[in-house]
Symmetry: C2
Subunit: 457 residues, 2 copies
């Protein structure tokens, strides 16, 4: 063959350490605060997480070793391929060279197992028997059920109700791996019952589901249950950096220097962090690079929301985290990209944006589905609705390169496939989807309220 379509790495070329950007962020990271407004101590998180993960959460060590057994499980599908998108480039008539890092090849179909496996492993090491969690679109819940299955832990998933109803097969996927999946808000927790009493028709939100999952973990009388979060927290960002480290090696093999543009969708931030942080260190060290987290216009956390101290969940069980937030009570429109409906953004990602290391972009779902369909019909893989946001931004950047006549290198994160999300494509193709942009009036009111009610970091 005259050209190489994808770059693979051997298992022996897998990264052996995670990269912790907390060691390198120019302005450092603000600490999480407890109910008293003072920085929390690791001990205060102990009812929720095992101590070995809490240590990672607060670590500022630059490189953290990946345990051997974790590597062996990740090696079932990693390193993931880096593809050159020749067919997409041709369709866009762009001089840009487009690469995508394909995380959809994991058994759960997304990047989420990269952190589900180590989280389950560290919990097991700590003697924990059962994990609870929340899930939006279902990518994370599936990934944790998968990881728990391989490591012999029980798993209970609170799934945002709108996604639970839109995607019935997600529940079956978790059950096939032995997990339990229930719609949130549920009657199983005090907080769920409260929300249901107040708003029986709520589509649910990640914020609500997180509260329920934490409550279910900390109230387990055996003390052998902990909570596991699929995004937002520092240790989750950390585990995902295996993506960007691999991509960096693969781009080099493809004969490229650093990319000109790095693009990934951002809900809680872990997919974006995973791909971009290993490149961000080069930007911190002076390289010129556009690093773009992409979010939906219906949930414009990074593009519009203020940087405040806010809770990670609606029920205010988490510490106050320094992050861009639309307010913990915010319920985004029921778009199909359920994984991007989160009110906040990972503190590490928020701080990177504050420090000028990343330039967020918001795109509406119609433009995203259009790009997703183009991708499916040229490159052949059907993208998850979340992933279409990165593709839409890539299409914009490729068009820009065409107009400028520049041979840019664009790298984007193909975070997951859409085989479990075909209802969204169906609705898009039959013209049933609308734009779901927040009106300027609506958003101004919301932002004013968030600023008035939340402390600044």
């Amino acid at each position: 063959m005259t050209r190489v379509t994808k770059i693979l790495l051997d298992e022996k070329d897998m990264p052996r350490q995670w990269y912790n950007i907390a060691a390198d962020l120019p302005s450092g990271l603000k600490p999480p605060l407890g109910p008293d407004g003072k920085p929390i101590s690791p001990d205060m998180l102990a009812p929720v997480f095992p101590m070995n993960l809490i240590e990672q959460e607060v670590s500022t060590q630059r490189w953290i070793d990946i345990p051997e057994e974790v590597l062996e499980i990740l090696a079932r599908w990693r390193p993931t391929p880096l593809h050159r998108a020749y067919a997409l480039e041709k369709a866009l008539k762009t001089p840009a060279r487009i690469y995508y890092k394909n995380e959809s090849v994991s058994p759960a179909g997304s990047h989420k197992p990269n952190t589900a496996v180590p989280q389950a492993w560290y919990n097991k090491q700590f003697g924990i028997k059962k994990l609870t969690t929340e899930t939006g679109a279902g990518q994370w819940g599936s990934a944790l059920a998968f990881a728990c299955s391989l490591l012999g832990l029980e798993c209970k998933v609170f799934m945002v109700r709108i996604s639970f109803d839109q995607k019935p097969f997600r529940k079956l996927m978790m059950q096939t791996w032995g997990g339990i999946c229930i719609p949130s808000p549920s009657n199983e927790t005090a907080f769920g019952r409260k929300v249901l009493a107040e708003t029986p028709d709520t589509p649910g939100s990640l914020g609500i589901a997180i509260t329920e999952a934490i409550e279910a973990a900390v109230t387990d009388p055996t003390g052998q249950t902990r909570y596991s979060l699929g995004s937002v927290l520092n240790h989750v960002m950390l585990h995902q950096t295996i993506i960007g480290q691999e991509a960096k090696k693969q781009l080099k093999i493809a004969g490229e220097k650093l990319p000109d543009v790095v693009i990934a969708c951002a809900g809680g931030g872990s997919n974006f962090a995973g791909l971009s942080f290993p490149f961000m260190i080069d930007k911190i060290n002076g390289a010129k690079m556009d690093i773009i987290p992409v979010e939906p216009t219906s949930c414009p956390t990074l593009t519009r929301a203020p940087f405040v101290y806010d809770h990670g969940d609606t029920g205010k069980m988490t510490p106050l985290l320094p992050m861009h937030s639309l307010g913990a009570g915010f319920v985004a429109a029921p778009i199909h990209a359920g994984g991007l409906r989160y009110h906040g953004m990972a503190p590490l990602v928020s701080q990177a944006v504050i420090d000028g290391l990343a330039s967020p972009m918001a795109i509406d779902q119609l433009e995203c589905y259009k790009a997703g369909l183009l991708f499916a019909r040229t490159e052949g893989i059907i993208p998850a609705p979340e992933t279409t946001h990165a593709i839409a931004a890539t299409v914009r950047e490729a068009e820009k390169a065409r107009l400028e006549g520049k041979e840019k290198v664009i790298l984007f994160g193909f975070s997951g496939h859409g085989l479990m999300d075909l209802t969204g494509y169906d609705k898009y193709m039959s013209g049933q989807l609308t734009k779901h942009e927040m009106s300027e009036e609506e958003i101004q009111k919301l932002l004013k309220d968030v600023i008035a009610t939340h402390p600044a970091p």
Copy 2:
């Protein structure tokens, strides 16, 4: 890491030729017959297939070059990984070393694109604009829609009604790739209307859907439509041999000689042929090896049916093919492994069984789902219902190795993932599935009838 979990190959190590076992079968292959009982000439197939594929169909050349452009498209996901199933071995306490060739990593989720891509490519070369086909479980229809999308052809799929109803997301998958999918029997063909008039409640069958797809192709007044078959025919077996050729190289890299046992599920035969034929040549040349096609007890074509001349479709539009057949009118019980509900078996596979080169096995769906669930919860990938048949046979062989205390090498074909087939797992887990074995009386009556009404080859 102390051990290698999977063996990858570079794109440059992809096979450059397909292997045609017709050149090596000890007893040769009987010719297909026309309505007059005489061997058909290639010209007679011209309304159905393009001449370049007909040439492959009748070729006895041992190696056939794979076109460069086909290789480039296949390289988007090929070579596929060969995994060592450490976790399954541990669960089974077997001394056997189990390997599986993972075809589920293709964008359509199965081995089917291996032939969909070249078939679409050859049709396009021949000036064809549109392909029609049938699909059982939906694996093949999805794969052809995928291939047509990448090559710019139209695609229309007649999907067996029971599967169409059980798996609504398959239709959406095909639509996302721009294909059209309708349930069969349909009102779009004369044959479909006839079947509906006689048996309005029929679950449909592959045999009926094939007739409809052929009729739709040959009656297109533009003359630019052809029919495409996902299994059974010689050129389809040919295209799939890329699987076994890769697996052979990968086993060598893993430090293994030839496997002791090769296992793959068999519906029309292409998945089985693809993995096994490149090993069968070694068996023809004297190597000792158990080669096992696995079928459901509810459709026991290779294990029970006679070797006769029969039509490939229910409407008798195809030539008479020399094959094991339960009769072209046979409608298998509505098991979830829709791809294994075909009444016949590829002539090349049938002849290989006649020649003693393969030893078929039939397994009921409960044993298969049990094995599939074990696989999902140990190895982590959820298998397609068809694939669970190969896993169940692997479990039996691994158990045999344990009882014999033998360090056997077992290779099986992981033909596809089950993410689109979770309803079957749901029914299995909730105890709604039954055994679906044909009674001995029922089968004796059927076989007697087939023998009485079909000419012997």
